[in-house]
Amino acid sequence: MALIELKDVSKLYGFGDATTLALDEVSLTIEENEFVAVMGPSGCGKSTLMNLIGLLDRPTHGDYQLRGRYVSKLRTGQRAKIRRDMVGFVFQSFNLLPRMTVIENVALPLVYKGVGVNRRIKQAATMLERVGLKNREYYYPRHLSGGQAQCTAIARALINNPSLIIADEPTGNLDSANSRLVMELLSDIHKMGNTILFVTHNPELTRYATRVVYMHDGAIVHDEQTAIGEVASTAKKIIFTVPTKTEEDDLAGVSALMKAVPDASDVKQDKAEEKKTARKKKTKTKAKKRGGKKDE
């Protein structure tokens, strides 16, 4: 059984003349323990897709099954509970509560699960140790670096042991060193058996993913399997041509990416080829990966 199964899911905003089609009959199946990167230009529906999968939003049309359960028509309260137990969110802007300490932020989802104070603190401390922030427990978020804040947010996402982590541009506000820190952490979590969905503009980060999904104008235009440790082949075409240091570079990279994406008609062919090569490479790259990262 697939973890996520979207079937012809559409999302419309507004009404009448002002209707915007944010998602256009998207079908997507994600298995357990996949590490999926979602790429695409701004406004292509990446975030809407993430919100739908994370049960923050409802599709206008179509079916959504989360681990075999139809969840799009559930009541708000039940969706909140599923969100609490099965989904962990990581946001671009961290979204930590500024008036709470790091450990209180991490323990927040447990409050809504009804866990007692002592157990909350204990579990949050364990989780902070896992993300390497044991000595920052009683700091406030404003005292943390961007990377530390994002690690705190990841610890918060993990505290309820969710099977799915949704990260919407988790490295968008971070420099390259902190980006690497955060991605390594997500990669470790992936190895523990979690499924991770992340949105990125940086082709370099597809290195960590097992699958890359390209979106444009609310539709998935390309979907390729990729080996861990290697930049996805489509993304590769632009990677060394454009530096990715500022937002403008990012956007330029995105336009380059869109040029690199093959036409929708080629998708099926490409997919078949990718799968073949991916399987072959997988065994080789695992050994390479460690070495490759150190070189960075």
């Binding site: 919100n51 923050l56 969110f89 989802p109 699960k113």
Partner: protein, 411 residues
């Protein structure tokens, strides 16, 4: 609920602490409301207590007979207000009634009280506002009072021109501390002061306040002066032994009923009844003022609602984050209701503490003796909590209804 509140009470307190000034100003309305209600009720209780003490100074066994029914058609006690305006006293008591009471079983003493109208002249100067009461030799015994100087009139000089005065009359009429032997003119007759009462304990609002300002003359003398037209407004009786109070009261009641031809146009009251009728009117006044004070509590509630609404808007992003990590609408609702409740409760407790200080101040610097009962504290605490919850509900509903995605986008 309990599992949710456990975490949220701490969060709510933290939230109150983190915005100290704003919280204080928000609570101010509740604080003022609680202080005014608690103080007013406390002062009312204090006065009631004082009145009870005053009434009890005459002894618990004093029986008061009044004209007019003490209970109206509904069986409710007639309050002092009605007696004050004479709404139910159609006729006074008569000398025959006094004799009947005197002859009832277990009755030891019986003293009439009648107001004799007329101006008092002393030292050639007419004095206004002098109250002349006609009574007999049983009065000091019935009132449980001793004569401080001189003597009360006896049986054998019941028809003489003698007077016994209250303490304040000595000053106002004769400008003398012990005016024994001094004389004054009343209805063309010269009266000699024979004795002076010790001071009656009294405060404003008490029914016996005027005994200190009264001149007592013998009943027969008054009858002679007015041509037998004096009416008794009250007869005070005492049983022979304190434990016989109840039976004396019943005896008086049945005998009077017989002589009045079965018409209950009089009232026989023991001290408890007198106390009830006077504390009824005090309770009424206290309740009225407290109700007005409670309006400020309501205004405090509106203040809380206002601030909570602002707080919800300000914390929209936080609400989004909380929803994203799995908070249900109900949990968000609970959080904000609880926060308003805690805010209001802290204000209420602060108000109670200020009231206690205020009561201490009043007791130290004024004649009032306010009392704060534990009931008042419990009610004030609950009231502040309820106000917080009621006025916090609307902002909390608004918070709970926010869409998580919009809320997350909000800065």
């Amino acid at each position: 609920m309990s599992r949710i509140t456990r975490g949220n009470v701490r969060m709510a307190l933290a939230s109150v602490r983190s915005t100290k000034w704003r919280s204080l100003l928000t609570m101010l309305g509740v604080i003022i409301g609680i202080v005014s209600v608690v103080m007013v009720v406390g002062i009312g209780e204090g006065v009631k207590n004082e009145v009870a003490n005053e009434i009890n100074q005459f002894g618990k066994d004093l029986i008061t007979v009044r004209p007019g029914a003490a209970r109206n058609a509904n069986g409710k006690m007639v309050s002092n207000a009605d007696l004050l305006f004479g709404l139910n006293s159609i006729s006074g008591l008569t000398e025959k009634d006094l004799q009947t009471i005197k002859q009832s079983e277990h009755v030891g003493l019986a003293a009439p009280l009648s107001v004799v109208s007329g101006a008092v002249t002393a030292g050639g100067q007419p004095r206004a506002n002098s109250l002349v009461l006609a009574t007999n030799q049983d009065l000091p015994g019935a009132l449980n009072r001793s004569i401080k100087y001189g003597d009360f009139f006896k049986d054998d000089d019941a028809n003489g021109n003698f007077a016994v005065i209250g303490k304040h009359v000595a000053q106002s009429l004769f400008d003398d501390n012990v005016p024994l032997g001094q004389s004054f003119t009343f209805r063309g007759q010269t009266f000699v002061v024979r004795g002076m009462f010790d001071e009656f304990k009294s405060t404003p609002l008490s029914p016996v306040s005027n005994f200190n300002n009264a001149i007592f003359i013998p009943y027969q003398t008054a009858q002679r002066l007015t041509g037998n037209s004096v009416q008794m407004y009250s007869i005070l009786a005492k049983p022979d032994k304190p434990e016989n109070t109840r039976s004396a009261l019943n005896a008086i009641d049945s005998h009077l009923l017989k002589t009045h031809g079965g018409e209950r146009d009089f009232a026989v009251l023991d001290q408890k009844d007198s106390l009830n009728s006077s504390s009824d009117i005090l309770s009424l006044i206290t309740t009225m003022i407290a109700a007005i004070a409670a309006i400020s509590l309501l205004v405090g509630g509106v203040g809380i609602m206002n601030i909570m609404l602002a707080s919800v808007t300000e914390r929209t992003h936080e609400i989004g984050v909380r929803k994203a990590v799995g908070a249900t609408n109900r949990q968000i609702l609970n959080q904000f209701v609880l926060e308003a409740g805690v805010l209001s409760l802290v204000g209420g407790v602060a108000g109670i503490l200020i009231s206690i200080v205020g009561v201490y101040g009043l007791r130290t610097y004024t004649d009032l003796k306010p009392i704060i009962s534990w009931q008042a504290i419990v009610v004030a605490t609950l009231a502040s909590l309820i106000i917080g919850v009621v006025f916090g509900a609307a902002p909390a509903v608004k918070a709970a209804a926010k869409d998580p995605i919009d809320a997350l986008r909000h800065d």
